[in-house]
């Protein structure tokens, strides 16, 4: 039987969850024995196989139209979708900006920051993604597995990957269940 395929991508996050994934260290070889790691931000392949993957993993919340596209594509191409980390599960740190309007956030980021000179201006180009309210992954697409944590512990990630690679649904309890 072919090894199950795993693909991942990151959205409005800090890449910390993928760093934590790398923190499983040499255990990644055990994962590779059980599964076929396909498109990820840290491999050459950038998009999940059109033919579909068994497990899709997304880090980060949805904060613009590009994120929405990536999330929908991953959802349509994977059987099991994992929300990895607090941003994907809850909205996380980027969601702090939801307490303000998008206009306020953009003005703060591109005009009012102390390092911006007088020529500061809010980028607008049809090529650019349109910023939206920051949403947890499950507000945009259906999510099967939630792995909270900021970032989730490497041991937790290894547990989740090995369970999924062996066709089981991971259940997070005790030490593995951390919301921070």
């Amino acid at each position: 039987m072919a090894k199950p395929k795993i693909a991942s991508d990151w959205l409005a996050g800090c890449a910390g969850c993928h760093m934590s994934l790398l923190d499983i260290d040499e255990r990644i070889l055990q994962v590779l024995e059980l599964a076929d790691l396909r498109a990820t931000p840290i491999t050459d392949l950038k998009e999940p196989d059109e033919s579909g993957v068994a497990v899709g993993i997304l880090e980060g919340g949805i904060n613009n139209s590009a994120n929405e596209e990536v999330a929908h594509r991953m959802r349509s191409r994977c059987k099991v979708l994992v929300a990895l980390g607090d941003c994907a599960v809850f909205g996380g740190i980027p969601a702090m900006r939801n307490f303000f309007t998008i206009e306020e956030s953009l003005r703060r980021a591109y005009i009012e920051t102390p390092s911006t000179d007088e020529s500061g201006k809010i980028p607008s180009d049809p090529e650019l993604a349109v910023p939206t309210k920051v949403r947890a992954l499950n507000e945009v697409v259906d999510v099967d597995i939630f792995v909270p944590g900021c970032p989730p512990d490497a041991d937790t990630i290894f547990y989740v990957l090995s369970e999924l690679a062996q066709g089981r649904k991971p259940v997070l309890t005790d030490d593995k269940l951390q919301w921070h």
Partner: protein, 639 residues
Amino acid sequence: MVSITIDGKQIQVPEGTTVLRAAESADIKIPTLCDHPQLTPYGGCRLCLVEVEGARTLQPSCTLPVMPNMVVHTDTEKVTDARKFVLTLIFSERNHFCMYCQVSGGDCELQNAAYAEGMTHWPLQTNYSPFTVDASNPYFVIDNNRCILCRRCVRACAELVGNFTLGIEDRGANSVLVADLGNPIGESTCISCGTCVQVCPTGAIIDRQSAYNGREQDLTHIKSICTACSIGCGLNVLTRDNRVVRIDGDWDAQVNHGLLCAKGRFEPLVNDKERIATAMVRKGARMKAATTKEALNAAVNLIKAAEKDGAMVGAFITASASAEELHQFIQLFENVKNARYGTIGSIGYLQSMKTLALLAKIERESDLIRVTDSDCVLVIGADLILDHQVAGFMVKRNLPAGTKLILASNDDNQLAPFADAILDTKMGLVGALEDLVVVMAEKKTDLTSNAAKAAAYLKEAQSVGVIIGEIAVGSSTAKVLEAVTSLLDKLSSDGKTVKYITLKGQSNAYAAYLLGLDKPVDFHDLETVFVFQSEEILDQTFIQELETVPNLVVQSCYTNSLTAKAQVVFPSTIWAENQGSYINLEGKVQHSNQIIRPTESIPTLVETMQGLAKSLGSKVDSNWSDGLDRHKIVTVPKL
């Protein structure tokens, strides 16, 4: 007793017990957020819902009294689903993102509840409405975004402290915690007692000092007592790396039942005074750092020189020192020729406690809580808002339930706005009290004068509690005592249960009095003076009395005008670095424990006194209870 079944367990509990408490008594855990053992049940969070056989809907166990043969289930699918739903509603209502919260990782009851239900996320969309953050108090911050509206703080402020500062403004999801009528907390009637901080289950009210200094489970917890006044409140002190991180009230303490005032909870942590680090000996115009041994030699030489010249030696110790320190102080100086010694501030007023106990027909003083839990409380010559604040809390919190407060005080008493009747002290305290006794004897029902109002309240009351402050004011002491006595006698003869207590001043003033340090010291002709000051703040008159003394030896924690002109200065440990016995205002012997280690070069008062005694060849020991004059005891414990 009522018999009920919870999760198949048969339990017998007294009538009126809530299902929650009944479950607790049988070690069945029902999660709650708004419940707190010290507060009346509120039923606000709905996390404690249980299934009761025969009931149409799930019932909140915290407000549901047991009924005979009730059958309760706490772990059915219906119950756990409801809990998850309740938690989902709470989490999605405000900013409950754990990753940037100070209490995450064990100190948050909300997070713990979610973990206990195995929740990996909440399925509802979060409501991103911003709420106010109030950082106007110097000691703590209120963040309404983290608030779950459990109202523990509101209830604690009212029911435990009697301050009624905190309240909820607006309705439903818009409800916010406010002080008074919406003032910033720092400009409100808040007295910074911090009880709200201690009861808050989430990160909505956090203490500035301990925030981000580690989780409770990673800190060392040490029980001790507060030495700021004679109440001697029980503390639970949290430390890390030999540093005090936070002070909580000890819920189990008999004296204060968890209450603390700002002086006990917050002030010890925000000390910016200049600490003395080493001993110093004067060389001409300059103070030179010295070893403790050198300083001890210099101090002993001053005593020896004085003894040789027949000069007068004076010695003063803080009445906040431990009983061991007070005892050794006496042992040390009773063996010094021409020595006069006593406490830094006079505690002569304590002598009137005994006079009062002898004069009045009620023999002993009572416990504070029994005094304040009377139908009518009379406060004479004390401002419980400024001093002995926890006693003030215990009085104020009973007022809404109908306890009447009568005030007799010479000063602008801050308790006045809470009083039901304020005796007119234009003719002095004595006049006011005598007038009250006269009015009580009359059969008038005219309520126009304050004395008549007070007399009417006293007449209605079954029990009367009397709190007496430092009544020994000048020459009228004897008369005040007589007036208080005749009032107490009048109340007893009217068939009232009368309980009274005198406030003893500094934390160990009562012990100092029992050890015989209550006699005033004559400052005349003192040439060599020892001041064991430790943390006490000196009175200007005391400093002036010592203005012309040529040889001063001071042991103090902080630099001040006395240490500046002393010949020898010893550093001193602060309360947290020291340990010893204290006798509180109720006569309870309590132990102040060492919480952090002092720097090696900093001695305790006892260590300095032992060093001096050794060089002088006199003997000191720590059997302080041998030194107590038991005839002077006015409180119930036999000590």
